[in-house]
Structures are given as structure tokens and as C-alpha cells.
Symmetry: C2
Subunit: 300 residues, 2 copies
């Protein structure tokens, strides 16, 4: 990881960490649902989605303060999805980011409520943002569509329905476009929608950002699937080799490790091409380029 990207990432990571500390009202800090929520929210996530959102905002010269509520909401939604995914009736995971999962630490009932509370609180934040700044209304719709049944939840549903079954390539891609891709996609498009509300639509710009985010999401997922078979659990901070044991359909279990690696390389070529085109149009993509390189080579 270059010093530059680490500096950029730290700047954005620090920004989101301090926002996340204050997502619940202080008078509720002793509430057991709030405690369970905060346990998972501050469990050392890499904040990839907020960092991406801030970097695209910076590229488009959209004020980071306008994006803050969406960045916090995005990380809250990501965290709630992990809490619910880890529950015994879902993946039944006991380890996440190297720590006991939320239901192991706080009990199933409060983990369930913590997930609900984080999802709801994310939308509270988004709606306050829209109430304060109508320019963010379209971005908020983008947020809600990508977190729901047409996005992330839809992907989880396909994933669950596919367990133990052979699914075709198209369905596998749909699964991951929704399950992982949707939040990454929204993270990149939300700053665009705020930009467009302030400065006017720009279809070519939208298409390039969309191509970048789709490739980033797909590459991120293929990498994640590869890490499940290649990484060490102590480095990854969660159980490995689970996908095959759980009969999950992943890019590795469906195509094999070598083909999955090739798909990852192809996907990232596409990501860097879209960044080149953005650069040709005069946008400063230096942060996004280094961040994408980091994502491609991540080991945890």
C-alpha cells in the first residue's frame, strides 16, 4: 500500500469513524440494542464504501459535508447486513473481523434488533439530509433502491435460495451484482446524483462512474471468493474455506480458482479503462486509481 493512498484512506476513514461514533442519541448509549449496534459498527471495518463515496465526491468537487450522512448511512447498512447474515438462521458465523459476531457477544434477540435499528437509523439520517438539502433527494432514492430487494437484500435472497444448487453464470452474476455490487455501486453513484442535482445531468459521466463502480463491485466479490480459499483465517479475521462447506455458489466454486483469477484480472482492466476515460475528460482520478489497485491486491 503506497504512502499516498494510505494518507488518503486515513483521511476518509478518520472522517467516517468520527461520524459513526455519534449515530445514536447519547441518551440511548446504555440501551442494549444500541450497544449491540455500536459493537458491530465499531468492530474495525475497513470502511471501503464510505471511502469510495468520499473519493468520487472529491473527484466531482461535491462537498464532503453534503456526502457525510450518506457515507454514515452506507456503513450502517453494510454493518446491519453483516449482523443479520451472521445469525444462526443465516450463515451461523461466530467470527467477524477477528471478533465474536454480534449475536455471540450480545445474544440473538438484541443482534436482530441491532440490525433493524441500524437499517432504520441509516434511513433517518438520509431523510434528515434530504429535509435539509433537497438536492440530495435523488441520491437518497439511489441509496434506498440499492439497499433493498432490487439490490443487496435481493442478492442475499438469491444467495440463500441457491444454497446446495447449481446456478448458471447469469444467475451467479446477478447474485453478486446485487449482494455486493449494489452498495458499492450506490456509494459511487450517490455523489454523482448530488453533483447532477447541483450542476445538471451528464450522461457520459454517469456511464463512466457506473462502469467503474460495477467493475469495482464485481472485482471485489471475485477477490473475496478467492480469499476464502487462499487466505489465512488469522489474517482475514473470519473463517475460511466456508463457501465450499456451505455449498455456496461463488466465482471460485462455480468456475474454479484459475478462471476466477482470470475474471478478476479482466474486470480490473475494465475498471482502469473507465478511470482512464474519466481522466481524459479532465477528472482527477488519482485517488480512485490507487484505491482500486489496493482493492485488487487486498489480502484481507
Amino acid at each position: 500500500m503506497s504512502e499516498k493512498i494510505s494518507f488518503f484512506m486515513k483521511k476518509y476513514q478518520d472522517r467516517i469513524e468520527s461520524l459513526l461514533l455519534t449515530v445514536f442519541p447519547p441518551e440511548l448509549s446504555e440501551d442494549p440494542t444500541v450497544k449491540a449496534s455500536m459493537y458491530s459498527l465499531l468492530a474495525g471495518g475497513k470502511r471501503i464504501r464510505p471511502v469510495l463515496m468520499y473519493m468520487v465526491a472529491e473527484m466531482l468537487c461535491v462537498e464532503l459535508s453534503v456526502v457525510d450522512d450518506f457515507a454514515a448511512a452506507m456503513e450502517m447498512v453494510h454493518t446491519y447486513s453483516l449482523i443479520h447474515d451472521d445469525l444462526p438462521c443465516m450463515d451461523n458465523d461466530t467470527l467477524r473481523r477477528g471478533k465474536p459476531t454480534c449475536h455471540v457477544a450480545h445474544g440473538e434477540a438484541f443482534a436482530l434488533l441491532a440490525g433493524d435499528a441500524l437499517l432504520n437509523r441509516a434511513f433517518e439520517r438520509v431523510l434528515l439530509a434530504v429535509n435539509n438539502n433537497p438536492h440530495t433527494a435523488r441520491a437518497a432514492v439511489c441509496f434506498s433502491e440499492n439497499t433493498g430487494i432490487c439490490g443487496m437484500i435481493g442478492g442475499q435472497s438469491i444467495d440463500l435460495a441457491s444454497e446446495g444448487k447449481k446456478i448458471d453464470t447469469g444467475r451467479l452474476c446477478e447474485l453478486h451484482e446485487k449482494k455486493t455490487g449494489a452498495l458499492i455501486n450506490a456509494s459511487c453513484l450517490i455523489p454523482y446524483y448530488i453533483y447532477a442535482a447541483e450542476k445538471g445531468e451528464d450522461k457520459e459521466l454517469y456511464d463512466l462512474i457506473h462502469r467503474f463502480s460495477a467493475g469495482t463491485g464485481l472485482g471485489f466479490q471475485i477477490n473475496d471468493d478467492l480469499l476464502d480459499v487462499q487466505a489465512d483465517a488469522s489474517v482475514l479475521g473470519k473463517s475460511t474455506g466456508k463457501d465450499e462447506r456451505d455449498q455456496k455458489s461463488t466465482f471460485v466454486t462455480v468456475f474454479g480458482e484459475k478462471s476466477a483469477q482470470q475474471m478478476l484480472d479482466d474486470t480490473y482492466s475494465d475498471v482502469f479503462e473507465s478511470l482512464d476515460e474519466l481522466a481524459e475528460r479532465g477528472w482527477d482520478v488519482s485517488e480512485l486509481r490507487e484505491f482500486s489497485e489496493l482493492l485488487l491486491n487486498r489480502v484481507q
Copy 2:
């Protein structure tokens, strides 16, 4: 139940039923999470919250079409809360509205996702409404605050944390103001906020509607607690006598049946006083008056 109220209720119930049929995109009708969601959404609820919302809107001459998205979203949130509440790690209920609960019919994993999907979809709907009509932005904030940790989820958290413990009157009231009261409150205040955005703030009107909705919510909960000990399971459509078995803190288990009945009577006196004052100010409260009488005397 008078013929008039039954006519008014049917008008609003029919309106919300047809809205609820179309809350998910038709192309997802075979998705197992959507199926589980629709199973519970169309399980014969009385639609009390949407009916209240429409009646307050009608009183304030706010177009019902402007309220539609909020009415649908409110019922979706109410339904998701029931699905998650019924799960084995929460109340572990197998019967709801006379039918097997969602997780009994569709499995725990899809019931969990169905709840998440309904909550998210509710906010999708609210955000589309705000995007189409900025006059609804404050109403949307009211919606989100009352469904979350400062409202309904907060009440569920207190409820869960109080199981098997003695709690004082203040805490019991807070529990129910949030757990049941918050959604009823929001249902009445959302039309006010739309009215206020269109016609300007009216503090006295707000206070009267708030007093009406707070009393209605409290009365509804006391009645619900009384029904748990007084009603027949086959009429109620769910298990009875559970509160004492589950060591729940309710108005009946804390104060006894007789005192709870007295509190119910006092609460409804307050509800009707607030309606009288609204009528004195020229508002047509006939629907709300009959509906409140119905709620007071409900047996299921």
C-alpha cells in the same frame, strides 16, 4: 360497529389493500423473500394505522393520494415488526392473525430477510414520495424517527430488556409509548406535517392531533394487554395468556386487570376531549370519533 364507520373503514381498507398488492416489482413475485413478505403483508391485518392516517388526512383536507405512500410504508413497517417479533429468538410465536407465523410458513432465514425487505421497501416508497413532492420531506422525517430506536424499535428493546424484571410505571409507559404508540402517533402526525408544509404551521392543531394520537396509542396498548387475559384465542387469532407466562411487563401484569380497565377509560376520555376541541375549531372529526369508539371496544 355502526354502518357508517364500517363504510368509512372499508373505503380506506380497500384503498390500502390495493396499494399493498403492488409494493414489490412484479418481476420479483417468485423471489422467496418477496413471497414471505407478501404472505405476512396480506395476512388479514386490520390496517388500523393506514386507516387512522387517511382519516386525519381527510379531516385536514390533505389529498389521500399524497398520503398513499406513507400509508403503505406504515403498514409495511408494522408487518416487518411482527415478523421479526415472532421469530424464535424473540417471542417465538407460531400463530398470528389465525395463521402460521412467517417463519413457520417460510423458514427463519426468509422470514428474517422478509422483515428486512419490508423495512427497506417502506423507506424506498417514502423516499420516492419525497423526491416527487418535497412537501412531504418533514413527514418522512417523522416517519423514520417513529419507526426507529427513538420510537418502535426503542420500545422493543426496552420490552426485551425488561423481561422477567419489575419495571416502574414511568418505564412501562415509555415502553408502550414507543413500542405501540410511536407508529400510531406517526400515522396521525404525518398528514399534519404535509398539511403544515402546504398551508403553514399551526401549533394548536399539532398539539390537539398529538394529544389524540398519544391517547389512542396508549388506549390501544392497554386494550391489547386486557385482551391477552380476557379474549378467546380463536377470536383474537393469536395465543392468549402469553404475557404472564413470558413474564412481560404489561398494564395488566403491572397494575392488575381492574386498574388497567380504569386507565383505559381515563385515556379514552382524554381522546374524546381532544376530538371535541378539534371539532370546536371547525374540523370534521366524525370519522375519527367513531373509529376511536371502535378501537376502545374492539374484541380482536
